[in-house]
């Protein structure tokens, strides 16, 4: 069986099925929803960081743009929710296009500029002068489209799409070329790869994924403020989860989300007083001892990790 089918059958399908049936047996639906959202965002980070090396510290900018794209469509045009989610994705891609000049930067400069860009978008959206359009700092209330069940399944659909995209990257010449660009852009161009085009495609793909997730998040919660959907927690969590598991693989970010977000909720419920401490120590340990993520425990032994 070709690797692509294997990955779709043994990674994507089980994950999607498990999350599709879990609401029937587990009561905390909001938690399940958050898991799905972070699985999407961690894979979005994987696409841009794992495959091209750009660390998107302002990744939440796309998420928030998607949420507000959704809200504006619903508030002003009474768009049906699924269509408004797609618009959220388009808005994020448009923002991504606007930010393509950032790709000229590298390393920490890119990360910082991206963070600044996401803050700029937040302040733009939260500007009281735009109250007529975005409701400014006062937040939006979208009771008309409120439907957590549909929103949850939409999130699973986007997760499947995102994972499908990552499976493609992992198994295609296109994904290989992206990694080549990440390793050495000059050599990649000598292999005939159009470096700028590849970077822009990966950047927009990761923006799309976050925008769709943001739109679905808005659909699910229906009431939110700019600070909620532009919270840098989303960027940081998604990055930490992806790195913890190991980027440039399919399962790394999945493992990262399941373990870290699982622990996060576990400590949060049981011993909230130690929460920050334990979480902080865990992340420090990771960076010090496993900089290439959990999957590197296997790759170091020469095992091939999908």
């Amino acid at each position: 069986m070709p690797d692509t089918s294997k990955h779709l059958l043994f990674i994507l399908a089980p994950l999607v099925v498990v999350f599709a049936v879990l609401p029937g047996v587990y009561q905390n639906h909001l938690l399940l929803f958050n898991f799905v959202i972070f699985l999407i965002l961690a894979q979005g980070v994987n696409i841009i960081y794992g495959f091209t090396g750009y660390l998107p510290f302002g990744y939440v900018g796309f998420f928030g743009a998607g949420a507000y794209g959704f809200a504006i469509m619903v508030m002003h045009l009474q768009t049906p929710a699924p269509l408004a989610v797609l618009v959220g994705g388009v808005v994020a891609v448009a923002l991504g296009l606007l930010l393509t000049p950032l790709l000229r930067l590298s390393g920490a400069y890119f990360a910082i500029a991206n963070l600044a860009a996401s803050l700029a978008v937040l302040h733009f959206v939260a500007n009281p002068a735009l109250e007529n359009i975005t409701k400014g700092p006062y937040g939006v209330s979208l009771t008309g489209t409120f439907n957590p069940t549909d929103a949850y399944y939409a999130a699973i659909a986007v997760l499947a799409l995102t994972l499908g995209g990552v499976v493609y990257l992992k198994n295609s010449a296109f994904g290989l070329a992206l990694q080549a660009v990440r390793e050495d852009a000059v050599s990649a161009s000598m292999a005939g790869v159009n470096v700028v085009k590849m970077r822009v495609i990966a950047w927009l793909a990761s923006a799309l994924v976050a925008g769709l997730a943001g739109g679905i998040y808005a659909w699910y919660v229906s009431v939110f403020y700019p600070d909620n959907v532009f919270s840098s927690d989303f960027s940081i969590f998604a990055i930490v989860f992806a790195l913890f598991g190991g980027v440039a693989t399919i399962i790394g970010p999945i493992v990262g989300v399941l373990i870290l977000y699982g622990i996060y909720n576990l400590i949060g419920f049981t011993t909230p007083q130690y929460f920050q401490l334990i979480y902080g120590l865990l992340i420090m340990g990771l960076v010090l001892f496993l900089p290439a993520g959990l999957v590197s425990l296997a790759t170091r032994r020469g095992w091939n990790v999908p």
Partner: protein
Amino acid sequence: MSPETKPILTVSRLVKRFGGFYALDGLSFHVVPGEILGLVGPNGSGKTTAINVISGLYAPDDGEVAFDGAQAGGIASHRLVHRGINRTFQVPKPFLSLTVRENIQVALAYGHAAGHAAATPPSMAELLDEYRLKEVADRPAADLNSAQQKMLDLTRALATRPRLLLLDELAAGLNPAELDWIAGRIKALAATGMAIIVVEHLMGFIEQITDRVIVLNAGKEIFEGTLATAVREPQVIEVFLGGEHAA
């Protein structure tokens, strides 16, 4: 090689500046298909810079590069690769975390533009076999020694089916047996009609494989002809004895 053969590459009065410093200062030369041209000169004379400009890494500040009769100066590298120019790097630049096989795969997949009907590309198996990379094919490029990394640079270039190949100190660091072997490979490539420019400090190697040499000093050509004549030229002797690489 007949003198009527049309050059595949013509470089005219090429200038490349870094700040106020002229790394190339009016360099002109040409190379014809099937020819192996040596590019020699002391450290810092502009050899690598010439290769960088011809392969599209730097845009020239003045002068012209014509490849196959069409303007090639200042065009993006990947486009030039698709038109048939490729190169190796003085310090090899493989994709370190990718396996040897994946390194070559990228070039096989992206090395030629769609619709460009040229010769059939070399196969992965051929490349791995001919450049002694078969045993390490599934190891990350980071595991290779420097000679193997040079061969990987070369196979990546060859996977794109170049008609002009620029070799920047490919032989440096190879042992005598490897030198003989790679000299044979380079000659075999030229025999297929590929034009090859060889930058090298090892004069014995240059002697063995080149038809003609250009001697560069301070970004300018100071001699053009066979190596045997070059070493009798007072100006050439002076720049070489003045530099650290006495021939």
